[in-house]
Symmetry: C2
Subunit: 320 residues, 2 copies
Amino acid sequence: MTVSRVLRNRGDVSQATRDRVLEAAKTLGYVPNKIAGALASQRVNLVAVIIPSLSNMVFPEVMMGINEVLDETPLQPVVGVTNYDPQREEKVLYEMLSWRPSGVIIAGLEHSDAAKSMLKAAGIPVVEIMDTDGEAIDACVGISHRRAGRKMAKAILKAGYKNIGFLGTKMPLDHRARKRFEGFTEVLAKEGIEISDREFYEGGSALAKGREMTEVMLERTPELDFMYYSNDMIGAGGLLYCLDQGINVPGQIGLAGFNGVELLDGLPRQLATMDACRKEIGRAAAQIIADRSGESGDTGGGERIELSPKIAAGQTLKRR
Amino acid sequence: MTVSRVLRNRGDVSQATRDRVLEAAKTLGYVPNKIAGALASQRVNLVAVIIPSLSNMVFPEVMMGINEVLDETPLQPVVGVTNYDPQREEKVLYEMLSWRPSGVIIAGLEHSDAAKSMLKAAGIPVVEIMDTDGEAIDACVGISHRRAGRKMAKAILKAGYKNIGFLGTKMPLDHRARKRFEGFTEVLAKEGIEISDREFYEGGSALAKGREMTEVMLERTPELDFMYYSNDMIGAGGLLYCLDQGINVPGQIGLAGFNGVELLDGLPRQLATMDACRKEIGRAAAQIIADRSGESGDTGGGERIELSPKIAAGQTLKRR
DNA sequence: CTGAAAGCGCTAACAC
DNA sequence: GTGTTAGCGCTTTCAG
């Protein structure tokens, strides 16, 4: 009835009745039931956001970007965490889709077949984020991790380093880290160079792991003159370790990480890194959903935004 | 009809029909509509989680605790972020309640009157987390930040420090930081000691800010022999700064932070801190909601769990 | 064990 | 401008 109209600021209602309704609503402590509303209107202002983890700052930062633009709209994000587990991803996705959200933002391009079918069948905007190396179901915004790996390899070679070590996570399911690694070794291979040593970790404090791994690797392969870390946190650990040991960085050994986390600003020396454009990705993805959910005929589709991460050479990647 | 029964594994359905239904559901790619289900059953398996921020690791860690226990139940968390803004908190809360969740987990004990009324009127379990210094609406799990501040002050005094500086965030709305500060100065006052200097920051990289603030303060008040940081990140920045400057820690100056973040493990020296029991808080809060949402008559109510944070004295808070 | 029927609290379309 | 009506897609209750 009329009440519904005023509560949603729709069309013709006289000021008098409007006031009366608002008054009543307030005194009764009335909170509309969105479930009923959604069912009736076939519209749910929720955006499903599916990410692998909350345990490092990267996804929370993406969330912040998403929040920023969704705040300007009636849309609300609902997040689900998969722990890098395809099974869980499938389940979380199913749960979310059963709420008939206005769109979904999901990390990565790799999903189980079932997940892909659900996404395709959902008939809502789907934005796959963080990665552009592969085929998207619908829209896609991110960076090319393969290209990022290549770019860093080139910069390192150009700076004159030759004996390069790689340190990363032991995560077969972190496809983005894997792609960076592939791009990285690819460029090295072209120059006839192979990774001199490599080390992988899982669990624990990344900073501490970075220290440990660096120690182990330097002991095992003393001729190393560069270490490429698959994320800034272990890179920072490595940097702190080197400084502790009185190792000249980058004189004796150069270092680089990946992500461009804010944390690096406070380190004794600025670690070379590459900005993964996390907030920007969140913002762009949310924008796509917001734009499309406004339209009627789902005009858009298949948007593809590839951001280009830039190297922040810091002080740990200098020409020798 | 029957279909509904098999999809929910309810009561008496013959294996034959069950199979037939499952079969049909699969081939049709049927995903049940939870909105309709929720409306009909008056049951929504969502738990609203309202937190101030995602920008440091503390709340993501609480989330992980919540996820852990909710994963074992049909309940699903939905998070809302307030940016420490009571206005936003009110709005976010309103939005969430309009989905009629099974419970709400909300950070802090300080809310606007409107927010409090909504929470009281909602008729669902409400767990206020992180803080126990004040009056809870319903259940409450956290630590006493006032007590935490007092405890740290005692430890510092006992270790023989006299000229103490405080460094924290410029956040009038971070009640927990404020309470820690109050507890801290209270104990000092009892011993006839006043904070020698203080400094507050906002925005930017906490690690970098920690460095800057430490530098500024040491210049301004050279007689300081201890610095108490309101979080570990700025504490870590301070520690790195001191080490850079060749300042003997804790010989010349002692340091302590707050939170017990994992990051500290990788630092050149272990910063003294106090574990805020974040994951544990998340777990306990989720458990309360889970337990109560199982019962019919909302048996429980008013649970109050106060965890006691322990000092991890690290290497930067040693008897002089 | 299975079907039919009556809502859940709203929105949308249509009268008044 | 305002009231009325018919569903939205399920769950629930009650008959068969």
